[in-house]
Every structure is written in C-alpha cells, then in structure tokens.
Subunit: 255 residues, 3 copies
C-alpha cells in the first residue's frame, strides 16, 4: 500500500471509514462506518471510533491530523476534533462535541457531548464535562472536576457551564449549572462554585467564596514571583507562536 498505514490484523475497520495517510490502528480496535481519521494519527488498541447514536444526525466523527488516541477509548460519531488531539486511556466522548486544536484529555475523562471546546485545552484524568458546556482556549481542568448543567435535577432545563480563556479549575471541584468561570480565574481544589465570578480571581471552598486576585499567589520555585497569570512562567507543550502571543498580551497587561 502507498498510504503508509499500519492497521493491526485484529482491528475491525469499516470499508466506509475514511483513513488518511500514515495512520496507525492498534490491536482489537473497531472503526465504524461514519469516521474520518486524518493523516499521521495513532489510534491505539481496544478503541471504538464512530459509535452510532440517534442524536448525531448521522454526522461523522472527524479526528484531525497528528492526533494520538490512547487505548480503550470510545468516541461517538457526530463530533469533530481539529489537529493534535491527544488522549489518555479509556476516554469517552459522545456526539456533537466540537473541539479546536490540541485538546488533551486525560485517562477516564468523559465528555458528555453537545458542547464546544476551544484550542489548547488540557483536561487531566477523570474529568466530567456535562452537556452544553462551553469551554474557551488555554484552559486547565484537573482530575475529578465536574461541570454540571441541571439546576434542579432531574429536569429538562439544561444550563451549561461556561469556562473562559486561561481559567484553571483545580481537582475535585464542581461547577454548578449556568455558572461562568471568568477569564484567568482559579478555582481551588474540592470547591463547589455556585456564584458568578470576576476575572483573574481565586475562588475556593464549599461553597466557594472569592479569596483574592490570582496574582497574589506566589510561585513556590524560590523566586516568589506571581504564579498567575500562569502563562508568564509555564510554557511546556505549547508551540512557539502561542508563547509569543502570550508574551505580547502579558506585556500589554491584557492577561
């Protein structure tokens, strides 16, 4: 074959699926009909891509180029990921999840579908993203965080959470329905966020209260410089042009 693909002999790949060049598909993985995998992508073993469901309007699952989906993950049809999606193991993503480039999703995370996610978002392990969530760019969401959507469960009212650019949600926090986590906010670990937020503030506790501006938190690396905006000191894994944009924004005091 000239497409340079490596498809394990035990994988089950539908003839209707569109597979790009230089794609690796691991052992025991199933690729269903309604899937397009772009070039230079690795799908590890035991995955299912393009699981059918009646809510996807028969739209296909698109996995952008240079992506890497780790083993035992399940993706429904009807979602779209731009380039460089990177996942841990056993990730679940349901239909109508529209994602920018370089999303990283940790092991066991569960995106419930019907949500919009920007560029360079990092979700650590075991994150639960409720339906109708809107997530901006350059956001960090740590393990066991839950974004909810039902203000009085069970009901048919659905109020997704909104997370703005550069926000950070620490481990085990719950964001209540309809709450916006504003630009540059930090939510402390094990918090219950039930109030609206101001930009660049730290909220913490159960229920969470406003504590201070995030720039008052100091780096524990010996320098005692402000730890936020985190874009001033943490660049690992971002491309050069992104870091330059951040420098300009920080210089202008916009972040």
């Amino acid at each position: 074959m000239t497409n340079n693909n490596s498809i394990h002999q035990t994988a089950i790949v539908s003839g209707k699926a569109k597979i790009g060049k230089n794609v690796t598909i691991g052992q025991f993985t199933t690729i269903y009909d309604n899937v397009e995998i772009a070039d230079n992508t690795i799908i590890e073993g035991y995955c299912e891509l393009g699981v059918q469901n009646h809510l996807s309007n028969n739209e296909f699952l698109y996995i952008g180029p240079n992506s890497h989906i780790r083993s035992k993950s399940v993706f429904y049809e009807g979602s779209r990921f731009e380039e460089k999606l990177i996942t841990g193991h056993r990730v679940t993503v349901r239909e109508k999840t529209i994602v920018g480039k370089n999303l990283q999703i940790g092991t066991l995370s569960d995106i419930q579908g019907h949500c919009i996610i920007g560029d360079y978002v990092r979700m650590h392990s075991n994150v639960h993203i409720g339906q109708k969530s809107k997530i901006g760019n350059f956001i960090w969401i740590f393990p066991y965080v839950v974004l909810t959507n039902d203000p009085h469960p069970p009901s048919e009212v659905s109020q997704g959470v909104e997370v703005e650019d550069f926000a950070v949600i620490s481990t085990m926090s719950v964001i209540l329905p309809g709450i916006k986590v504003s630009k540059g906010c930090l939510i402390g670990a094990n918090s219950l966020l039930s109030i609206q937020t101001e930009e660049n503030m730290l909220y913490s506790g159960n229920p969470a209260k406003k504590v201070c501006v995030t720039s008052r938190i100091r780096l524990k690396d010996g320098t005692r410089k402000p730890a936020y905006p985190w874009t001033k000191h943490f660049h690992k894994g971002y491309p050069e042009e992104v870091i330059k944009d951040w420098e300009m924004l920080n210089h202008e005091g916009i972040l």
Copy 2:
C-alpha cells in the same frame, strides 16, 4: 439459526450460557459459563459477563429481556437484573446485586455487589455503590456520588446506606455509613451527608445540614412552579403507567 441471534465471530460465548432469542453480542465480548441473557437484548463489544468469583455461591448472572449493555462493561456471576437494564460504557457490577426493572447505570459506574436496587433507578456516570446499599424505586444518583458502608475504616463492620423512593443525590456527594436518605429528599452537590434525614427535605453542605423543604425550590423554566416533587414535571423515559401512578400519588398529596 431460528433464534435470530447475532453473535460476532470474535465473541467468546460459553456453550453453557443460556442465550435467549434476538440477542446481539458484540465484537471481542466474552460470555462465561454461568450466564442467562433473556430475549431482545444487546451486549456490545469488549464486555465480560459472568466473571467467576468465590462469593457468588455459583449462582448465575441473569440479564432480563430488552436490555442494552454498552461496551467494555464487566458483570460478575451471581447478580440478577429484571427487564430493560440500560448501561453506559465500562460499567462494573459485582456479585449479589439484585435489581428491579429498568435500571440505568452510567459510564464508569461501579456497583460493589451485595446490594438491593428497586425499579426505575437512574445512576449517572461514575457512581460508586458500596456493598450492602439498599436503593428503592425512582431514584436519581448523579456523577461521582459515593455510598459508603464502613463507619471506621478499615473494619469488618458494614453499615450500608439506604436510599428511599424518589430521592435525588446530586453530583460528588458522599453518604456516610448507615445513613438513610429519606423519601423525596434532595442532597445538594458536593455534600457530605452524616445525619439522618426527614422526607422531602433538601440537605446540603460539608457537613450537610437541613436547608428547607424541597418544594420551595422553584423551576428555572420560566414557570416558577415547585421543582419538587420532580415527578410533577419530569416524565422523560418513564412508561405511561408509571406517570399515571405518580399523578395519582401527587394528587393525593402522598408524594
């Protein structure tokens, strides 16, 4: 074959297992010896049904008719589910779990066995049901809820949680050993429930305290009607006869 079954050629199905009519078994799924699957049931791929264990007294796993078990789930032998069990992906259910009809269990949920569950119970994703839990009918349990059982861990004392009919436990809440969540109660998100409850009350916080009667919570759908009892406005997915029963009970002021 006249039984109208569809068993994937890569599935491993014991000859001792009893498989009903019109049953679908997906790719790479294993059905062990001690299993009975009733008619019109779908078992998706990568599942294991009837995992052996020394605590099951060699009793079989029974999956009732019209059920749908999603991929990568693991069920031990020695449990019983009446009709219309519906699961997400990667569900785990251990031995001696006795369940009524139409249980829904979300992705990654883990039922530890040795518990009793009624009819029409809905567990969302990543719920942890400790051993010796007793769960009634028409109950909702949301993501990352934990029902515990050991009052001073580790010990050999086991005091399961009891959840009564129509109760709702919101996301990330922990119910301590021996606590009863009374009929129609609502437990707020990220709560730690360590006190006994009265019917139809809202408990919230860490530690949880009684807040008000649930009927004081208003619907956010524009009507401002009471959001509880939820059976007055939320009917999605329940059969007509159930909804009629609720209407009668609500009319008589019993709910």
Copy 3:
C-alpha cells in the same frame, strides 16, 4: 510445554517478554516486549502490560510472583511490583512506580507514575495517585481520593504527597501538594487536607481541621473499644507474621 502456562490463543504475547512458570494470560490481552512476569501469576483478559513510553528509560515492567491483575488493566513499562500484587479491573499504572509486596489496587484506580509505594498498601476503587507521591506501609486509601502534587497549577513545581505507615484516607478526600499524612492519621470523608498533620490524629472537613486523637473513635461492633489503631481489631487479608508484628508494636505502645 513444561512451564505449565495457560496463554489464551487470542492473547498477543511478545517473544521478548519473560514469562515465568504457571502463568495464566487471558483473552485479548497484549504483553509488549519489555515485561517480566514472575511465577504463579494471573493476567486476566483485555489487559496491556509494558506499554512503551519515552520516560521509562527503556526499563522493563516487573510483576512479582503470585500476582493477579484483573481485566482491562494497563501497565506501562518501567515499573516494579514485588510479590502478590492484586488489582481490580481497568487499573492504570504509569512508568517508574516502585512498589513493595501485596499492593491491592481497586477498579479504575490510576497511579500516575514516578512514585514509591511500600508493603501491604490497599487502594480501593478509583483512587488517583499523583506523580512523586511517597506512600509507606499498611496504608488504606478509599474511593475517589486524590493525591495532588502541583501547588499552583499549571506549573513545573512538583511537590508530592507523603503518606506514612498505618494512615487511612477516607473516600473523596483531596490531599494538597507537599502535605504529609502522618503515621496512623485518619482523614475524614470528603476532606481537603491543606495543613501538616500530627501522628494518630483525625483530620476532617473542607478545609480539614484537627478533630481529636483517633483512639477516641469507638468501634460500632457493640464493644465500644477504640477503633484505632485499626491494627488492633482488623486483620483480614494480612499474613500471620504481619499480625504478630502489629501485636508486638501495639503492646509496646508504638502504634
């Protein structure tokens, strides 16, 4: 074969892997190159052992004798487990995890690698062990506990949690970076531990505060004896010589 092994015909086992005597490998399991499995060990179905990664320095994964890894688990190369490792289903363990004997890890637990774990540690389901954690001996960690490591996320500063011998961390608790859970401490359910601890004390709440010495907690088995140190009454699953050691230490008032 004289090695008495039982390798399922659908398993994919690298010829470079070292497999001991009397080893069982289940259906659809993959054993990669860089793996050594010692004698009398069971690896159930759908597992992956020895997943490659650039952080493992090409070191192999060693699984000690008399171990039992349950189905759908994923172990990276570059970790080491002494005898009698027992796991639940869908466990994930990354590189550079150095573990003593008889670790028990529950279903869905996730050890992020680069950490040290002693002997006879019990992790229940869905535990998250952050990188650089140091965990002693005879420790209990209950469901949904998170050990963190980044004091101001995201950053490149990493301060692992330390857990000393005989400590118990109850369900849904978060331990903040750089905190030491001292010998014999009990952390209450759904706590956020952000302060340093003294030995044999109960800490509880969000944020957690010191409540009392653990010996003031009484057994709910009718005896009203102290529930802690738990080694005085809970012996299930430990070998005779360990229990004798505890008795001596308790007699001398060391525990």
